[in-house]
């Protein structure tokens, strides 16, 4: 069974969102890292970039495949996890903590409420 965190929100494309006040931290799920296999490269946006929901905000490359990362919510990028570059294994080892990718200042704090809740995500991945 994949690790799915309570209180987080999820997308069909396997990103997670943790909302705290008017900011949201974003990464990929435990299920996503398991499916991708060992991640070898990540490309993330610059701080200051304004994202709309469903925009591609980066790419992640594993030994199997290159995948695009989709913004679950709209907002401005206020922090990027620079430590991942060169330590991509953190995404595999700790997808919800040290493997976080970006933090955005939410354009609309209600937007994340439309994403999948943990139960809906678990049934989405067939568990």
């Amino acid at each position: 069974m994949s690790d799915i965190r309570p209180g987080f929100r999820y997308t069909k494309s396997h990103e997670w969102v943790k909302v705290e006040g008017d900011t949201a931290t974003i990464g990929i799920t435990d299920h996503a890292q398991e499916e991708l296999g060992d991640i070898v490269y990540i490309e993330l946006p610059e701080v200051g970039r304004v994202l709309s929901a469903d925009d591609v905000f980066g790419t992640v490359e594993s030994v199997k495949a290159v995948s695009e990362l989709y913004a679950p919510v709209s907002g401005e990028v206020v922090a990027v996890n620079e430590a991942l570059s060169g330590s991509e294994a953190a995404i595999n080892e700790s997808p919800y903590e040290t493997g976080w990718m970006i933090t955005v200042k939410l354009k609309d704090p209600a937007e994340a409420g439309k994403l999948l809740d943990p139960d809906a995500y678990r049934s989405q991945i067939g568990e």
Binding site: G37, D38, I39, V40, V63, K64, G86, E88, A89
Partner: protein
């Protein structure tokens, strides 16, 4: 298990012993001088640590290394999408003829008429097989062919005042080189969905053509597609794309399913590449040289690269550079010439009457394998396939076994593993392409091995998770190899690696190594 336990081979540097000689050179008959005296002020490296070995040590080293390689001359090589067929040795003999092997690209045309005739004949022969009006033999590989094809599409649109078109449609299941080639040529790729049949989703295609009206330069499609399925709607696909002003590109990587039986040109494609190292029997997987000739319809012919082989009215042959609309040169000289000779010999050996037997037997073998293995492994899209079939091993996850683990276990049974995790739309994917050159007994042997692995997954999954057991090393650290790609040797690193026992303990450690892939 047909593989003997193999041990890893030390490097030449580890085998080196001070003062050991492989050859006795005659004494120097000119005064010896220090290089630094002869080249004052020039930075000289000095002290290059060349290994010192005797001739038998060198021969045994390389022979042992070659025995660690797995090749199609040794056994079944069902690497899907790569068409690892047996390559008849008579084609190598043709290549060794001095009139081909010992000519120089700068020698006068009148002294190499036979070579020029082969180029001209091959342009015609491939045109006939593909259903195309003209062929360029220049591209050195499939991806190079894709790039040329897109450059031709771009030249065509520019010439017709449509240079603003910026989108290339590519199915989600496509070879990764397709979107990469499109991006390399300055295009934006737009992904088309695959429907429940495993084919291009026509509804989605129509929607995309409307959304990108006036912007579509072309569509790149592999047919049969990367699931090994024939795109049944191909005539309609070509029709709607043409009506939207786009051109149709065929990725000919799967031409082994069609050769002699059906022609992409007749389906409506305007331009395509074909991999001579897949369909037309050039040795494949050893790093090349490959060849990816491109065939085009009349509308694209003026833009082909220079030179084209040409037969003059008097029957002599020449290289034609007088092509005012040509995109220019895309490589040195005339393509991978000896690869072209080899493929030409192969085509002429079969002739028009027998070429179809290639695709007929390739498709028959794949369907036999699909029907029998499908009882044990789930077929991703279970319908009649073409030259290869795709299985999903998601059910094996309940035993903690992944497609990767099964692929590694296949090595212990003496076969090359199938392609894994491609196409990306199939979870836990294994893609198997038997090709036409394998006997019923060989395919049955492989099926028995796969069935045995399936039983192991239920009874003793650990043996699969620890595989391969018969190779000199177990699981290579592909992540480390990809993160820090470094293939050069240095004496400093070698001594520290040896100190950690990297090269001396067979089969225990995880080793960094470049991932071997088949050429595009």
């Amino acid at each position: 298990m047909s593989n003997d336990l193999k041990t890893i081979e030390p490097t030449l540097f580890e085998l080196s012993r001070p003062g050991r000689l492989g050859a006795s050179l005659p004494g120097c008959d000119v005064p010896e001088r220090e290089p630094a005296d002869l080249l004052p002020g020039v930075p000289l490296r000095g002290g290059v640590p060349l290994p010192e070995l005797a001739e038998p040590d060198v021969i045994r080293h390389f022979l042992h290394l070659s025995s660690l390689n797995y090749c199609v001359d040794q056994g079944f090589y069902p690497l899907g999408s790569c068409t690892m067929k047996y390559n008849p040795k008579i084609n190598d003999e043709a290549v060794r003829l001095p009139g081909f092997a010992r000519i120089h690209p700068y020698q006068p045309e009148e002294t190499c008429q036979g070579a020029l005739e082969v180029l001209w004949q091959m342009q015609s022969a491939l045109g006939a097989v593909l259903g195309m009006d003209a062929v360029s033999l220049h591209p050195s590989a499939g991806a190079h062919g894709e790039m040329l094809g897109l450059m031709l599409i771009r030249a065509y649109h520019d010439h017709h005042g449509q240079g603003k078109r910026r989108s290339v449609l590519v199915p989600k299941a496509a070879h990764g080189t397709n979107p990469a080639s499109a991006a390399r040529c300055g295009y934006k790729t737009v992904s088309i969905d695959t429907d429940a049949r495993g084919l291009v989703d026509m509804g989605h295609l129509r929607t995309l053509l409307e959304q990108h009206e006036g912007d579509v330069a072309g569509l790149m499609l592999t047919n049969p597609n990367t699931l090994g399925l024939f795109e049944e709607d191909i005539v309609e696909i070509c029709d709607v794309v043409h009506r939207a002003g786009g051109l149709m590109y065929c990725d000919g990587a799967n031409m082994n399913a069609l050769v002699g039986t059906a022609r992409p040109g007749d389906m409506g494609f305007d331009v395509m590449h074909v991999n001579l190292h897949k369909t037309f029997c050039i040795p494949h997987g050893g790093g090349g040289p490959g060849a990816g000739p491109v065939g085009v319809k009349k509308i694209l012919e003026p833009f082909l690269p220079v030179p084209q082989a040409l037969r003059r009215e008097d029957g002599t042959f020449t290289l034609d550079y007088e092509r005012p609309l040509s995109i220019g040169k895309i490589g040195s000289f005339y393509g991978a010439f000896l690869a072209i000779v080899r493929a030409y010999a192969y085509i002429r050996h079969y002739g028009r009457e027998h070429l179809a037997e290639i695709s007929e037997n390739a498709v028959l073998n794949a369907n036999y394998l699909r029907a029998r293995l499908g009882k044990t492994f789930e077929v991703a899209y279970d319908r009649t396939c073409m030259h290869e079939c795709v299985f999903t091993l998601k059910a094996f996850k309940s035993h903690g076994v992944k497609a990767l683990d099964v692929a590694k276990r296949v090595i212990d049974y003496g076969y090359h593993p199938p392609t894994m995790y491609f196409p990306l739309i199939v979870p836990e994917c294994l893609m198997i392409e038997p090709t036409e050159t394998e006997s019923l007994e060989t395919i049955d042997g492989f099926i028995t091995a796969m069935e045995s692995i399936a039983r192991e997954a239920e009874e003793n999954p650990q043996i699969i998770l620890d595989a391969p057991h018969t190779a000199p090393v177990r699981r290579l650290d592909e992540a480390l190899a990809a993160r820090s790609l470094d293939l050069s040797w240095s004496s400093d690193r070698e001594s520290s690696a040896s100190a950690q026992g990297r090269t001396t303990t067979p089969g225990t450690g995880r080793e960094a190594a470049a991932t071997p892939v088949c050429e595009a």
